[in-house]
Subunit: 525 residues, 2 copies
């Protein structure tokens, strides 16, 4: 702040730093346990032990020459060791860079080099997937095993100083960085500050967001290499909840089993996982669940109904890497009667933006959502051109999402700007059309992309995964759509497929699907 | 921040300002109602109307020459108009100064002059109590009625511009100021910044603190002229809860009636009020309550039990003007079984400090609690000597409270440093002794102060209000204490009184009681 303050407040101004959550946890939640799976093994550690190990780790990293502002990459599942890195690296003033293990090897090289990572921590089970990257000075293997020239994680812990003191740094310092998986173009890097992440942790824990508390048992199925596991590791630390880290056990049946075995109250995963859980033939006892969050792709009405029937209390989360990553949850306004049509519609919405995030809608481009706030990115790292496209001169971020906002402030995601179908000069929302298709009981999953069309410019093309034995036909589907969407929205092109291509973070891969749609119409081969 | 940042985060840095809660409320909670009582009248307004009136008010204040940093005093009950001032004054960059209506006229003069208030807003019903103070340029009467030379509140609203834009100011700017009632010495002034109050609002709303949400109906019985009504006006605005402002109807029977009539879910009041509610002969239906907070004085076990029996779910709040004002609530750790002795003991504790507030205990002065954090004062306004006593050179505030901290991080308030009784060179905790006394079923209220003693230096003197018809004797009470406290703690001096003197904010007035105890021992007359 360079502006003069007319009449200053007289309160302490202490930097908002992530280390405070660790310091709190080791003091007031010392005995709370964290559960971690690695392969078949289940290990528990107390928060006091966890934070002590993080101090040891920070001390060993310091001795290796890693200092304030240095980037530290991780390449691993959701494990106890990954949590220790989540704590130690930002707390010592270095910058945590979890690398998405599911992207192509070339992208991994690009990302690690672009970030300037000096050291990489890798799970033994993922070692074969991690290329050696020039510029990386040290590699560390977690979970035993070995790798040529690499250090051993437990040796670093053993050699570290348990009384290492986390330094005080400015709150706008980087805490972590995350490359967006990028459904288009090169990966872009968001750099979270301590301030933004501390505020995000407070905001996401509020009762009308995730409502996190000490009595919760939190299962982040969403990977720690993907948008900070939606902030749950830090939130669990702050509120003292029991954290369950599932390792590589992320299949729907694993998730269901872990919920039952650990009496999980709050779980977060991409929508696809909950689709999978809803289809399990033999569901274990999930009655411990208070709430599960589905994100990454919209939850359709059919999935919502199915999960309701199964007693899995689902809520939709909406966000993006650029907002740390939560913006809102689809919680119905308090005035609505539970079970009413309006209430269900609100559950299917993206919900209200969290406090302290400003919202604008740019109608000139079809209704693009724009955001501003302390939890919102201001630029991409070392990418001036991509930044200029996304961030306006007057302090707003373009999200690329087409939305409506109703009288209750509920956002409804209609589409991505680039996924709108422009047919005869008018917009068709691929998401609305997808929802209408997915409301057919014979549909398991569906997505819509634009296909080139000589007469109309573009026409929607639907890729549909039918439910086994439903005997679904394109004609039956079109009949189902009549009355549900405008007549000219009904797709001529309906392609039944056994599964839909997905990106590394579980979203429909519309890039791949657009190429396929183009082929179907003969536009490309 | 003047320090260079090694590797900066790339997130937007927007000042944390209270106006954001108002801007959120008028957008996403536009239709939510606020209920206000004034005398016998009950008025409701929507949040959209409320924020619009706040904009009008800010515009009229601007026209009167009130600008950024100027102090605006209020002298009123919890009303819709007071809420509008809570919004408008900080949002326009001016400084809200709610004056305690219960202090002596001389103190009122001193406080208004010391704060440099340029304008005073006064409830018509309190007009006679407010002296004219030199330096005040304007007076405004709220709720109709008139006062010589004063402006009318509704005329200011009518003349104001509903589209007044709240300015952007630095987050460390003052938002409000509050003079401590001061059980000793001259009133001291805490100046809350926007940053501290925004953070306090987030923190107090967390599930393990007050757990506030849109579906709540919040009744702040604690006055808006006392420590910002414990932050509830801003929290209600942020989460979109229904706020019920009770006006001057603050007697226990009024509080109970309002809870029943408005279906209140969350109410906050000083402990004395809940004592009163627990004694009402004819209790209305209070089943809407999710939780009530008791603060300002410890909740004894007897009161806790009685409220449990009545189905009033009470929790103890602990804080002080200097921490904005909440520090903790006596919520038992999740690991404890409800109903167990440890669980009850935790409910009687002051609880864990909220996140982002650091705690130290200075054993060299008997265990004084020291605090540091963004919600903690760094100095008193224009009071260098009092500030030097309270704030250390290395960034900590001395609270004057003697505490213990257990393995769960629960604070237990033993005493005020100045209320310890030093008998024969050893400390007696007046609060522990009070609790032991109050655990006798025949005791309604009790307090202990030090009385001078020739032999021991000091001895405890107990003032006890017996329950009507209980036939309590000093001898019976001493027998009750034997085994509960050390033998040498048992007071020789037990004085039965019909009521205990209280300060303007409902705390036992130990200043007055110490004088009386001294008289009883013949030390002064």
């Amino acid at each position: 702040m360079t502006r003069t303050i007319a009449f200053p407040g007289l309160m302490m101004h202490r930097p908002l730093l992530l280390k405070e959550f660790a310091e709190r946890a080791e003091t007031v939640f010392a005995g709370q346990e964290v559960v971690g799976y690695r392969g078949g093994r289940r290990v528990t550690r107390t928060l006091a032990e966890t934070v002590e190990r993080a101090r040891r780790l920070a001390s060993s990293l310091s001795r290796l020459g890693i200092g304030v502002g240095d980037r530290v990459a991780t390449f691993g599942w959701n494990t106890l060791e990954h949590l220790e890195l989540y704590i130690a690296v930002p707390a010592m003033g270095a910058v945590l860079h979890p690398v998405n293990i599911r992207v192509h090897e070339d992208d991994i090289r690009y990302i690690i080099r672009h970030a300037g990572d000096r050291i990489v921590f890798v799970d033994d089970s993922l070692s074969a997937r991690l290329p050696r990257v020039e510029g990386v000075e040290h590699e560390v293997v977690m979970g035993g095993g070995s790798r040529d020239g690499a250090l051993d994680y437990e040796e670093l812990i053993a050699a570290g100083d348990p009384s290492f003191v986390f330094p005080e740094i400015p709150e706008d310092s980087a805490a972590a960085m995350c490359y967006t998986s990028g459904t288009t173009g090169a990966p872009k890097c968001v750099v979270y500050s301590h301030r933004s992440t501390v505020l995000h942790t407070l905001l996401q824990s509020l009762p009308d967001l995730y409502g996190l508390r000490e009595s919760d048992v939190i299962l982040p199925v969403v990977p720690m290499f993907h948008a900070n596991a939606w902030g749950l590791p830090y939130a669990a630390l702050m509120v003292g909840a029991r954290l369950v880290l599932p390792g590589e056990n992320l299949a729907p049946e694993d998730v269901a089993r872990t919920i039952a075995a650990e009496r999980v109250t709050f779980a977060a995963a991409v929508t696809t996982i909950w689709h999978g859980v809803a289809q399990l033939a033999d569901l274990p006892d999930l009655s411990s669940l208070r709430e599960v969050v589905a994100g990454g792709a919209p939850v359709g009405e059919a999935l919502l109904r199915r999960l309701d029937e199964l007693g899995v209390p689902v809520i939709q989360g909406f966000g993006m890497t650029e907002v740390n990553p939560l913006l809102s949850v689809g919680r119905p306004p308090a005035r609505l009667e539970a079970g009413s049509a309006e209430w269900t519609s609100a559950r299917l919405s993206q919900g209200r933006p969290m406090p302290l995030v400003g919202v604008r809608v740019d109608e000139s481009v079809g209704g693009e959502l724009m955001l501003a706030g302390n939890t919102v990115a201001s630029a991409y790292y070392d990418a001036p051109e991509q930044s200029a496209e996304r961030f306006t001169g007057d302090g707003w971020m373009r999200t690329g999402d087409i939305v409506t906002v109703d009288g209750d402030g509920l956002l409804r995601l209609l589409d991505r700007t680039k996924d709108l179908v422009k047919s005869g000069g008018e917009w068709i929302s691929s998401v609305e059309l997808e929802n209408a298709i997915m409301s057919h009981p014979g549909v398991l999953e569906a997505t819509v992309v634009a296909a080139p069309d000589e007469r109309w410019g573009e026409r929607p093309c639907a890729f549909v995964v039918p439910r086994a034995g439903a005997g679904l036909t394109a004609e039956a589907l079109r009949e189902h759509l009549a009355g549900r969407v405008a007549k000219w929205w009904i797709p001529e092109l309906v392609e039944f497929v056994p599964e839909i291509a997905k990106t590394s973070v579980g979203k429909f891969d519309k890039k791949v699907l657009r190429v396929r749609a183009e082929r179907l119409t003969g536009g490309r081969d």
